[in-house]
């Protein structure tokens, strides 16, 4: 009974809205309960892939049927959504104390979860479109309830972009509906297959446009920074964790289930890969580079992490686009790992924002002494993001590298290497500016976040390390998916994955790492005990340091590196979109000035002119 996954959250949403009016914590607890319930019931129906459901409706003379079905891919995404929303809900029970729009937030949050479930289980374009629109609208309201003015503009730009893409989707889908008579995926796939190649490619591109926008790939990534940066701190993890991924779900559906790859098989190929999918991979590479360069420049922590999400998305699209078994499982692995460690980072930063109230990095510092657990969560997460061995981030990147090197795509590999190495830089920046360095006087008495906010962080740390050592858990669901989509699977065991050039045994590495650590600890213990000294007692060439503010190096952390890219960052893509819309609407303004200038005699004159023109036209024809 798949519709229950949509209607339970929807019903709970309205209940949460009403209850939250009275007591601030009620809304978030309801969200937590609902997502826990979803997670549980999803776990129970694992494996029953034939579960589907359809009901048809004759609407204004159109025979429409709405199909819902459970596939391994949608099961995985549904589990991820409900897991992440459970953690966020538990986190936001306390963190919404000071949040003005908390009841609207919970209402929309549950509606977003419900609509995502709808999108995932939809097997026909109309249901997909309806729930996709709902998801866009509810996330629009969620984003605009963030920081004052900027959140409004960010959400506004996000909605216009996704609405334009959704309309192209609608046009293409209705065109197919007229040809095949039904909205379901299968007949559309056959029709597209035996249709003329360029036309079906065009159609599929139009259908995949909203997925490109939602996934934040290069030309359409403009909304991601502002949306994540200004969304309320509880929603950013969900936004960058899950909403970006739903875009990828769509892309996978378009590439594999609508047989996009089979269609472009025979087009001209570049090194064994159809040119179009190589182009997508190239787009992914460009996304990595732009995302990384712009991430390094950011001063606002959430914007920095938003850009890092964009660049990580580049990895996933590269993995999907090169369509090799290794590539696909690498990108799915990275998709899951990215969700895990990205939401940990955002939760950690949300905890920092909850306590300090600011998102600017140079306004905080030295929080490790006041918030050690948040620091630990953040540290594990960035180790995973940077792709350092004992964590899950490295495995997915390693698999993607194996896939790239196996086929010898140099430029894609170059971008991937650049992305992962540069991620050390923008990952270390918040660590050193927010957590290390000098502790500001006004943050002296900050306490650690309340218990309910600690639990999700702890769970996520555990999951990062767990998947880091035993990737096999993730692999068996991925192999099910690739089996279902017709890609042969990569052989793996509980703690090792067989790459193109060698297996990867993460348990072994973990033991060696621990051994090295023990030796170093021995060396440290043998020497004399060291004397603890305060933070302000540091070498400052003899000068007495009194105020921590001036002694904390945080503003423009990588100024020398940024100088290399000053001109590139200046002409950002958003400027291009802004001017495009601005002069389009200016034409409206000039249009009005010519015609509606307020003189009634002109209006009368226009009616006579219309008569004369039409008469002339009629007379000529």
């Amino acid at each position: 009974m798949l519709t229950k996954y949509i209607f339970v959250p929807a019903a709970a949403a309205f209940a949460a809205y009403i209850l939250n009016k009275k007591n601030k914590k009620a809304g978030a607890t309801i969200t937590a309960l609902v997502s826990a319930y979803l997670l549980l019931s999803l776990a129970l129906i694992y494996g029953s892939w034939e579960l589907n459901q359809s009901f048809n409706l004759s609407l204004m003379g159109y025979q429409l049927e709405f199909l819902m079905a459970l596939t391994p891919l949608s099961w995985l995404f549904a589990v991820l959504t409900s897991a992440i929303s459970l953690l966020i809900a538990v986190f936001s029970i306390d963190s919404q104390a000071d949040f003005k729009f908390s009841s609207v937030f919970n209402l929309n949050f549950l509606l977003v979860i419900g609509s995502i479930m709808g999108v995932l289980f939809a097997r026909d374009f109309l249901t997909l479109f309806i729930f996709w629109e709902l998801m866009t609208w509810t996330s629009f309201y969620l984003i605009s309830s963030g920081k004052k003015k900027m959140a409004g503009r960010a959400a506004y730009r996000y909605l216009i972009l996704s609405a334009a893409a959704a309309y192209s989707f609608l046009m293409a889908v209705i065109f197919i509906f007229q040809q095949t008579g039904s909205f379901a995926f299968e007949p559309a796939a056959e029709f597209l297959l035996n249709n003329s190649a360029p036309q079906s490619i065009l159609l599929l591109l139009a259908i995949s446009l909203p997925f490109w926008v939602k996934a934040g790939i290069f030309p359409l990534h403009v909304w991601v920074k502002d949306a994540h940066g200004n969304a309320p701190k509880e929603f950013s993890p969900f936004l960058s964790g899950m909403l970006l991924k739903v875009g990828f779900y769509g892309l996978i559906v378009v590439f594999h289930q609508l047989s996009f790859f089979k269609i472009i098989e025979n087009t001209i190929a570049y090194r064994g890969l159809p040119l179009l999918s190589y182009l997508f991979a190239l787009l992914g590479a460009v996304t990595i580079i732009t995302g990384t360069i712009l991430a390094i420049r950011q001063e606002d922590m959430k914007k920095l992490i938003a850009y890092s999400s964009i660049s990580q998305m580049g990895y996933i699209i590269i993995g999907i686009a090169i369509a090799t078994p290794l590539g696909f499982s690498g990108s799915m692995l990275h998709l899951m790992n990215h969700l895990i460690f990205k939401s940990t980072i955002f939760l950690a930063l949300a905890a920092v924002i909850y306590r300090t109230g600011t998102t600017k990095m140079y306004e905080v510092g030295g929080l490790i002494f006041r918030m050690p657990l948040t620091f630990a969560a953040y540290l594990t997460a960035i180790i995973a993001l940077a792709g350092i061995p004992p964590t899950n981030g490295f495995i997915s990147k390693w698999v993607i590298y194996q896939a790239l090197i196996e086929k010898g795509y140099l430029f894609l590999a170059l971008a991937a290497f650049f992305g992962s190495i540069a991620s050390f830089m923008y990952v270390f920046k918040p660590l050193s500016t927010v957590f290390l360095g000098q502790l500001k006087p006004q943050h002296q008495e900050i306490k650690e976040v309340p218990l309910l906010m600690k639990i999700p962080m702890l769970i996520l740390i555990g999951v990062i390390v767990l998947f880091g050592v035993f990737p096999g858990i993730q692999m068996n669901i991925i192999s099910q998916i690739s089996g279902d989509l017709g890609i042969e699977t990569v052989n793996y065991s509980l703690y090792s994955i067989q790459g193109a050039f060698g297996a990867w045994n993460s348990l072994y590495i973990f033991n060696v790492f621990a051994a090295g650590f023990v030796i170093a600890l021995l060396v440290f213990g043998l020497a004399k005990k060291s004397k603890l000294v305060g933070l302000l007692d540091t070498y400052s060439s003899g000068e007495y340091v009194t105020d921590a503010e001036s002694y904390h190096y945080a503003y423009q952390y990588y100024r020398p590196f940024d100088r290399l890219f000053d001109n590139l960052a200046a002409k950002s893509l958003t400027g291009f979109y802004e001017t495009l819309t601005a002069n389009l609407l200016k034409s409206g303004e000039s249009f009005r000035r010519i015609f509606a200038a307020g003189r009634v005699q002109n209006y009368a004159l226009y009616s006579v002119l219309l008569f004369v023109i039409l008469a002339a036209v009629g007379w000529i024809i």
Partner: protein
């Protein structure tokens, strides 16, 4: 020859009247002149309507002692009925227009229509 002139003098006259009225509405600056030319257009159209109903050498469609109902030659009564209602409507519109002009005059203290630009947008 005569009836041709007769025939066309009605149509030509009324259409000419309409054009004069139209020109008045489009070009005059003074609001009252605009209203007058609007009235002119109305009368022009009414004349045209009546002219349409003209029948050769027939008398007015009024049944009284002089020409009882069974007389053959009546001018077509329907356009005249139309003209009646349209005259009523024309006068109503003009009266309303004049009242509006008075109100506008109170506000802008001018009758020149190009100066009344309150609603530029």
């Amino acid at each position: 020859m005569l009836n041709f002139l007769e025939e066309w003098s009605f149509f030509g006259g009324s259409i000419l009247l309409i054009f004069i009225g139209l020109y008045g509405v489009l070009s005059r600056k003074n609001m009252i002149k605009i209203l007058i030319s609007l009235g002119l257009m109305d009368t022009g159209v009414n004349l045209l309507l009546v002219a349409l109903g003209y029948v050769e050498a027939a008398n007015a469609p009024i049944i009284n002692s002089v020409n009882p109902s069974n007389a053959a030659a009546f001018v077509d009564p329907i356009p005249q009925a139309l003209v009646l209602t349209s005259i009523v409507i024309g006068t109503a519109v003009l009266a309303l227009g004049l009242a509006l002009v008075m109100k506008i005059y109170d506000k802008y203290s001018t009758l020149n229509i190009s100066e009344i630009r309150g609603l530029k947008w």
